[in-house]
């Protein structure tokens, strides 16, 4: 016996929750599915400074929880910690979208918005998988406290790497940022703060080549790109923030992907599959911010409403 909804949103990040707010306010029976807790990447961002409406910094986890509360206030249902074990997103002939959750529950809707976003990209070097959780981390808010008084490294040079390095200074004795270029890609204001910070130093033009240790990580091997020389750096822990990889598994084969695996959509977030929309970081686009994700989610929900009205005019 399947449960019916008007709109199913996959992914409870900013895009998915914005879509849920608009969907629920339009009186669509809206279900949001997430494999964890709501908030997407925002929930593990220690502070957010550039989201309009919050003149003071807000903790990412608080902003994430607020998005979720707002969606639920208007009647959206958020299914937390569910795994989609089977899905049929429909086609031209059969536009119904079906999802099986944890092999035990089936949910169906005539429209779906896929907002599964992106996950931290691994470096893809030797030893990385082995030391994940044993010295290598992708979440500073989760694991920062494990490194109190330790000498750690952060890999990357974008906003996340630099912001999270600053956050990690409250625990670590020293934070060494390893960055492949000769300057940060992060916003100037935080880049300057990091460069001034007494606990932070930077190894410019270096790249990790491998991770080594007995039971836990002890050494990160890096290449000095300028000198073409390889060094072993003793380390207590490494945090990796080298960008994101799209999570397109649900829609692979159904919708066009660009060369990097992101989904090409119409301006209204539509895909070639009727009633199927893609919003947020999973979309092929130039800039990925919380603000652009909520914009995508908004547009997708409005487009889905119009689709449902046109296709099912007898609906209340």
């Amino acid at each position: 016996m399947s449960e019916r909804f008007d709109l199913i949103v996959v992914g409870a990040g900013p895009a998915g929750l914005a879509a849920a707010i608009y969907g629920a306010r339009a009186r669509l029976k809206t279900l949001v599915l997430d494999e964890g807790v709501p908030g997407g990447q925002v929930k593990t961002t220690h502070k957010v400074s550039n989201y309009p409406g919050f003149p003071e910094d807000i903790k990412g986890s608080e902003l994430a929880a607020a998005f979720a509360r707002q969606a639920e206030r208007f009647g959206a249902t958020i299914a937390r910690s569910v795994e989609i074990t089977a899905a049929d997103l429909g086609g031209l002939a059969a536009p119904e979208k079906r999802f099986v959750l944890d092999d035990e529950r089936e949910v169906v809707a005539p429209a779906a918005i896929i907002a599964t976003g992106a996950r931290p990209r691994p470096l893809g070097v030797e030893g990385e998988a082995r030391f994940r959780g044993a010295g290598i981390s992708y979440c500073a808010t989760c694991d920062g406290a494990y490194f109190e008084g330790k000498d750690i490294h952060v890999v990357g040079g974008g906003n996340s790497a630099v912001e999270e390095s600053l956050f990690l200074t409250q625990f670590a004795r020293s934070v060494t940022i390893v960055h492949q270029f000769a300057e940060f890609q992060a916003e100037a204001s935080i880049a300057e703060e990091a460069l001034r910070h007494p606990k932070i130093r930077v190894l410019w033009r270096h790249e990790p080549r491998g991770f080594h240790g007995e039971t836990s990580l002890a050494v990160m091997r890096v290449e000095d790109l300028a000198a073409h020389a390889v060094h072993d750096l003793p380390t207590d822990g490494v945090f990796v923030f080298v960008g994101m990889a799209p999570q397109a598994d649900l829609v692979k084969g159904l919708v066009p992907l660009n060369a990097w695996g992101y989904v090409e959509t119409g301006e209204d977030m539509s895909t070639p599959v009727p009633g199927l929309y893609v919003a947020g970081d999973l979309r092929a686009k130039r800039f990925r911010q919380i603000t652009t994700a909520v914009a995508d989610g908004t547009i997708a929900a409005l487009a889905a409403q119009k689709y449902l009205r046109d296709r099912y005019p007898s609906r209340p």
């Binding site: 964890g36 044993a134 979440c139 406290a145």
Partner: protein
């Protein structure tokens, strides 16, 4: 906290984990850790499925630093698997899927 998942501290590690007759899962969790929060209901559900065949414990990392350090745990959540007083199999960490956890327990109790 529930019928199937029990929270312990490091002083009970030897008695509950190492000397257990059944296979044991031990989940190191932290506060302000969304993946830990995400794992909780999955851990609970899988614990229910394997009731009587494996025992499920959680341990709060902040209050049990020495054991975390001794076991080389540096991230939350990290799930360790034990059988006959020894750690076996690969550890699970980060964003852990329910199916992944279930498969690990199936292999553990096999």
């Amino acid at each position: 906290m529930s019928d199937h998942v029990h929270v312990i501290d490091q002083d009970r590690f030897e008695a509950e984990v190492l000397r257990s007759h059944e296979p044991v899962l031990l989940d190191f969790f932290s506060t302000e850790c969304p993946p830990c929060e995400a794992l909780a209901p999955k851990y609970e559900a899988v614990a229910g499925q394997f009731a009587g065949r494996a025992r499920f414990f959680k341990i709060f990392r902040q209050g049990n630093r020495e054991l975390a350090a001794k076991l080389g745990v540096t991230g939350s959540p990290t799930v360790l698997l034990f059988k006959d007083g020894r750690e076996v199999g690969g550890r699970l960490s980060g964003d852990i899927k329910r199916s992944e956890l279930r498969q690990a327990v199936e292999a553990l109790v096999a």
